[in-house]
Symmetry: C2
Subunit: 341 residues, 2 copies
């Protein structure tokens, strides 16, 4: 039996060879109807791609785009280093953009990256992103996207996250075992996936240890710890409660260092008066006064895995049905800030 | 007198209008001989560009590339935020790459950005870059480049730096006034501009205060503070001198936090036994034990100014003769780590 080529398919369907070629690899540039036409005909005629031609595909840019909230955060800079380490070995370029927690910038960066023909996107959502249309449209067109850390429930694709529930559960349980009972939780806006997951772990740990969940000990910070005034006001309000907390568990890097700074300024003794545990990937938590007990995410590994999953989507666009959400275990580094009362 | 147009110049010189247009705005895509021909003829015929046409130039990508050693460093992330704040207002996209202190990556990133037709580059040299040909070639072709922080002497263009000499002089003088006499200096490889400038300020301050410069108190760290083993060995060697230092002045973010970590591990009392001052833009230096006296660079302003200068080169390529090196004053934040003996 003679082998059928892209040229034959193009001729039969009155399409250009480049359209057929793109349709066969599920390019987002080709409309779904044409793709259906091409793939059905190719299947019928038992078309088999030429593996050498595959490796010569001209329209790959060999670059991928990364959009994260900000780079001045150890978690995200380590995540990027993980992405880059895999990308560099495979000859991909990594183009980095910051959303600065702005939905508008996230949309603008996405459009720019697509106009520059990146082969795929790695995204960690801005804290103000509630509308996901800019990603959904691209995915419908076949652009590979993998989400990291702050991920949307509404979109089916590969996702790489930390096991936030377990990380929070462990941190809260650690404070309970250190004899604390009134444990406050500082966190980011509620509509981020990481916020709800970390809140759920905190709540479950309290309940499993017979401590009632009390909403007044939970503070949401609209600026996620970046606004010193908001940090100060929020923590002061907690400390002025009739029964102030004897421990604080903070759910982000900025909130952890911001909280320690406020407690120092307010002359609250850590850990004697208030024990402190915080999510952070800071490399200098052991230099703090007191050294800070931290929940650390394996950011480097998460970045590597996100890039591996994205490459899989780019290089095998046909096999896009089995999406994975990979959850990575966090680790608890116990230091002085959470010592027993 | 009739107005001469690009079309007229093209006809007279047997060139395409697009070549003439590019030659007139000094595009790096046009060879120098053609540029000379076009600009001489345009001058002779008193050609004046049409300001409306100028704003419609099609070949601008409205994007610029930034290559820095690493983003996981507060100085560089703040520098990028400054660059982005100006870029965003002017509608430019900022594409960020890390060299990870590798000359090869710096060259590869440069080539990639140029292939993607960025309008200009903002560069802070990797610590391993000694050959500058990859930048010199692009500048000869007319690509606008502005250097920041780690800048080459050999290339004439705009440069934005901190006043490293003064910053170092002030930090060293502060330690002398706190009663210290054997002041060690931890720094990066000697061929970086920032290393020689900071070393010179340190040396001059010692000499102005009657303290002989002594090479044995200067340690160069090939990994700039990123290698814990190298940090430990270097600082131990200093502390094992017959006359160990009574103060340390470190010249980079990583060396400052790295040094504090080693001194804590080695049970060296700061500031009683060794006072410590370091260059760093860390936002958490006041949380350290003890709070760290720092030399801070106005990174945000430096980034803004670098972007302004780059925009000037992009939008007025003709006026490329008056290059500026803008030096920004650092500030000394005195905290407990450098208290008097």
């Amino acid at each position: 039996m003679e082998t059928i080529t892209i040229k034959d398919i193009a001729k039969a369907l009155h399409l250009s060879t480049s359209t057929v070629s793109r349709a066969l690899r599920n390019s987002y540039e080709i409309n779904p109807e044409t793709k259906r036409l091409v793939t059905e005909y190719a299947q019928k005629m038992q078309y088999r791609p030429n593996p050498i031609a595959l490796s010569l595909r001209e329209s790959r840019s060999k670059s991928i785009g990364v959009i994260i909230p900000e780079i001045a955060n150890n978690f995200f800079s380590q995540l990027i280093n993980g992405i880059e380490s895999v990308a560099y070995d495979l000859g991909y370029y990594v183009v980095i953009f910051q959303s600065h927690e702005s939905y508008e910038r996230e949309v603008a960066h996405t459009n720019f990256l697509v106009s520059r023909k990146v082969d795929g996107l790695l995204i960690s959502l801005s804290s103000l992103t509630t509308n996901l249309l800019h990603f959904q449209e691209l995915m419908t067109k076949g652009l590979p996207i993998v989400f990291m850390d702050r991920v949307p429930n509404e979109i089916a694709t590969h996702k790489v996250v930390a096991d936030n529930f377990e990380g929070s559960y462990g941190a809260t349980q650690h404070l309970i075992r250190a004899g604390r009972r009134r444990i406050a939780h500082l966190t980011s806006p509620i509509y981020l996936s990481i916020t709800t997951e970390r809140l759920a772990g905190y709540r479950k740990a309290l309940e499993d240890h017979g401590i009632a969940f009390d909403e007044k000990y939970v503070r949401y910070f609209a600026h996620g710890g970046k606004d010193e005034g908001e940090n100060r006001d929020g923590i002061r309000a907690l400390m002025q409660l009739p029964e102030p907390p004897d421990a604080i568990f903070s759910a982000s890097d900025r909130l952890s260092t911001g909280c320690l700074a406020v407690l120092q300024n307010e002359k609250v003794k850590v850990p004697e008066q208030v024990a402190l545990v915080g999510f952070t990937n800071s490399g200098v938590a052991d230099l703090f006064n007191p050294p800070l007990t931290t929940v650390v995410q394996p950011a480097m590994e998460m970045g590597q895995q996100a890039m591996n999953l994205l490459i899989r989507l780019i290089e095998h666009p046909q096999a896009q049905n089995n999406f994975e959400t990979m959850a990575f275990k966090t680790s608890l580094n116990v230091r002085e800030s959470s010592a027993g009362a």
